[in-house]
């Protein structure tokens, strides 16, 4: 159990490229923190700095309040799942998982090792494969072996580098809940790198979003979703992503491609200098007006394409972006690893909606839910700090409660186990 503190961490590789740039992050004891960001943004590098495999160019890394910059990896007592697994090919699955236990000389006898490995392997469904060599396993099985090797030992913190990326959807979902439950039960501080939106949103107490080595925002999933600090975070979190629409500023009205939206005086003052700003509206904030029940701004547009998924449906509505914001949107698309698709509005509609391709659709949305971004800096001009603090407090409370619940469950089962043992002793 340990807290991890990153203070202005910088990593420059030999070629002077700053892979991690001035990252500061406090990870509380027992917290589950997710690192996300596009490929090459420095997630693995940051993890490897924490575990001690990369030298820290500048800044301080504290574990439990002690500076560990110069400590060797084995003295940090952290365990890690590598992005490429790094299994020991000459050892069986059993020995791979047992490896860290065997290294801790004299701490575990053979029986203990056997039971610990078996416990890990049954959680990871590796029991049939214990005597096989990594070369003969599938990618997903190898990944689970790497996972087993990391969790078998009582490390102060777990560092996972995309540990589920190679599993199929079903196993991934299963493992996700397994990891979440295990983390709550053990209360082990965890840093988890992922590309997967669902993992990022469901697993973490807090999510840290990185872009080109720079930390953008650290917050609970809900805060990231509802109160992103900038265009990048807004576009990165959520699937399908937030719609970014060019908005011409005319007094206290924003002219969006399909509709004019009135804005508050406060906001109008903030954006006075700009000719254009970028409005961000999540796909599910649009509703089919014909179903009723929603107040807000109404407009109609021709739907180009629809996708019906059973529980919901997506509608695509293309629009033209004016030159002035085109470059910002294009750059954002590049930053987000986008495919440079043409500009279109994605609308997530109720499955009951009868809107069909080629038809004119009547849509409605609540302008309160719209975010407005500065097109130059990308800053979110409509972020509600009070609300953000409230969400943060909520999720922190939820985290403590979950930990508390897990601990009391643990102690109940411990006590029961103790009573069982005592009972059997009396009986004998």
């Amino acid at each position: 159990m340990a807290s991890i503190e990153l203070k202005n961490l910088v990593k420059k590789y030999g070629d002077g490229f700053p892979a991690v740039n001035d990252v500061s992050l406090d990870i509380a004891d027992g917290e589950f923190v997710i690192l996300v960001g596009p490929s090459g943004c420095g997630k693995s590098t940051l993890l490897r700095m924490i575990v001690g495999l990369e030298d820290i160019t500048s800044g301080d890394l504290m574990i439990d309040g002690k500076r560990v910059n110069d400590l060797a990896p084995r003295d940090r007592n952290l365990s890690m799942v590598f992005q490429n697994y790094a299994l020991y090919p000459h050892l069986t699955v059993f020995e791979n998982i047992a490896f860290p236990l065997r290294l801790a000389k004299g701490q575990h006898n053979e029986d203990e090792i056997r039971s610990k490995v078996n416990q890990a392997s049954s959680m990871l469904e590796l029991n049939e494969h214990l005597e096989r060599k990594p070369a003969n396993l599938s990618g997903g099985q190898r990944q689970r072996v790497a996972m087993g090797r990391a969790i078998v030992r009582e490390a102060d913190a777990f560092l996972f580098d995309e540990p589920l990326s190679n599993l199929d959807a079903k196993l991934r979902g299963q493992m996700r809940t397994e990891i979440s439950r295990m983390q709550r039960r053990l209360g082990t501080t965890t840093v988890y790198v992922t590309h997967d939106q669902i993992e990022a949103m469901t697993l973490g107490d807090r999510v840290a979003v990185l872009k080109k080595g720079v930390l953008q925002q650290v917050a609970s999933p809900r805060e990231l979703y509802e109160q992103p600090v900038n265009l990048f975070v807004a576009g990165f979190i959520g699937s399908p992503p937030m719609n970014f629409l060019p908005a011409q500023v005319v007094g206290s009205t924003l002219k969006l491609p399909f509709v004019d939206v009135p804005i508050s005086q406060n906001l109008a003052d903030q954006i006075k200098g700009h000719e254009f700003v970028i409005a961000g509206i999540r796909p599910e904030y649009f509703k089919d007006a014909s179903l009723g029940g929603v107040e807000g701004v109404r407009f109609s547009a021709v739907v180009d394409q629809t996708e019906w998924l059973g529980n919901e449906q997506y509608a695509y509505i293309p629009f033209e972006a004016p030159e002035a914001v085109h470059s910002t949107l294009e750059e954002l698309d590049r930053d987000l690893d986008g495919e440079g698709l043409r500009t279109q509005l994605v609308v997530n509609l109720d499955a009951r909606s009868r809107i069909r391709e080629g038809q004119e659709a009547e849509l409605v949305f609540d302008p309160e839910l719209m975010h407005v971004f500065d097109p130059n800096s990308g800053d979110n001009l409509t972020r509600d700090d009070a609300k953000a603090t409230e969400i943060a407090q909520d999720s922190e409370d939820a985290r403590r409660a979950a930990l508390e619940r897990a601990r009391s469950r643990e102690s109940v089962s411990d006590r029961q186990a103790g009573e069982d043992a005592a009972g059997s002793q009396e009986a004998s």
Partner: protein
């Protein structure tokens, strides 16, 4: 190894390999045949079948000559010297090369390139160019005609070779292996012993065999830096074989000795062949 060659290509390759096999096998067979020929069969083609190739009346006479007969006091010590010198030289060179190659492939230090190029340059040197200075030096420092006096030059021959092959092997082992071991709580030495060494074993065996052969087959150093049975190895000793009389050539005895010295080589290859398994590191990392 798995190949996806079509049957046709495979057949063609089999056919093409036959001349190669004949080309390499015939001289060896010829030596074997010669070693089985008696003195008269060596002189008289009519006593042999297949056109002077195989003796009609094979005899082990030549083997008797080198082990117990006239050539034995030349051959037996030479065989002993060969074995000692080559084993010791191989051992030292592989151990030194292992540390050197490990450092070269794993650590970043100034002069890394220099070591590799120097090693390569040394092995480019014609051996004969080193012999004369060594001859003079060895006589002065008292290493002439001693076993260490041969081991040292053999190290010069085998070390560069071993360093190169081993660093290539070490470089194939993914770095992450070792990092994973360190994160799991291993010291650098434990990581080397428990993870890197087992993975590098095939490379080490291959290197050892190559180094052993290089030393085993050397003639130039052995013939120039030795003067007696103290340290002379088999290739050099062969040159000192004499016939039964002044007028007979020791062809049969030389052939028999050549067959005998080939045996350890064959044994070594058969023994280690199974250890030289390619692709041992597969499955370690993704992709």
């Amino acid at each position: 190894m798995q190949t996806n060659l079509s049957t046709k290509t495979r057949n063609w390759m089999a056919v093409a390999s036959i001349p190669v096999m004949i080309w390499t096998a015939i001289p060896l067979l010829w030596i074997l045949a010669t070693s089985l020929k008696g003195t008269d069969a060596l002189a008289d083609p009519t006593k042999n079948s297949f056109g002077n190739f195989w003796p009609k009346d094979p005899t082990l006479e030549n083997y008797r000559v080198i082990f117990t007969g006239g050539a034995s006091d030349l051959f037996n010590p030479a065989l002993r010297n060969s074995i000692i010198v080559c084993l010791v030289a191989t051992l030292i060179s592989v151990i030194l090369a292992m540390f050197c190659a490990y450092a070269i492939s794993r650590l970043d230090f100034p002069g890394k390139k220099l070591i590799l190029t120097t090693a390569l340059a040394v092995s480019f040197f014609p051996v004969i160019a080193m012999v004369t200075p060594l001859f003079n030096l060895w006589r002065q420092v008292g290493l002439f005609d001693t076993i260490p006096g041969l081991i040292i030059p053999y190290l010069a021959l085998t070390l560069p070779l071993s360093i190169w092959t081993l660093s290539a092997f070490f470089q194939q082992i993914p770095w992450e292996m070792e990092q994973a071991a360190q994160v799991d709580g291993a010291t650098s030495w434990q990581a080397f012993r428990k993870v890197i060494a087992p993975l590098a074993a095939p490379g080490v065996f291959t290197t050892a065999i190559i180094a052993f052969f290089t030393a085993w087959n050397d003639f130039v150093f052995s013939s120039n830096l030795t003067s007696s049975n103290n340290s002379r190895t088999v290739p050099a000793a062969l040159a000192f074989f004499t016939g039964a009389s002044q007028f007979t050539q020791p062809t049969g005895a030389i052939a028999a000795a050549a067959v005998i010295v080939t045996i350890p080589v064959v044994i070594l290859v058969l023994l280690f062949q199974r250890r030289i398994v390619a692709g041992l590191t597969s499955g370690a990392v993704k992709g």
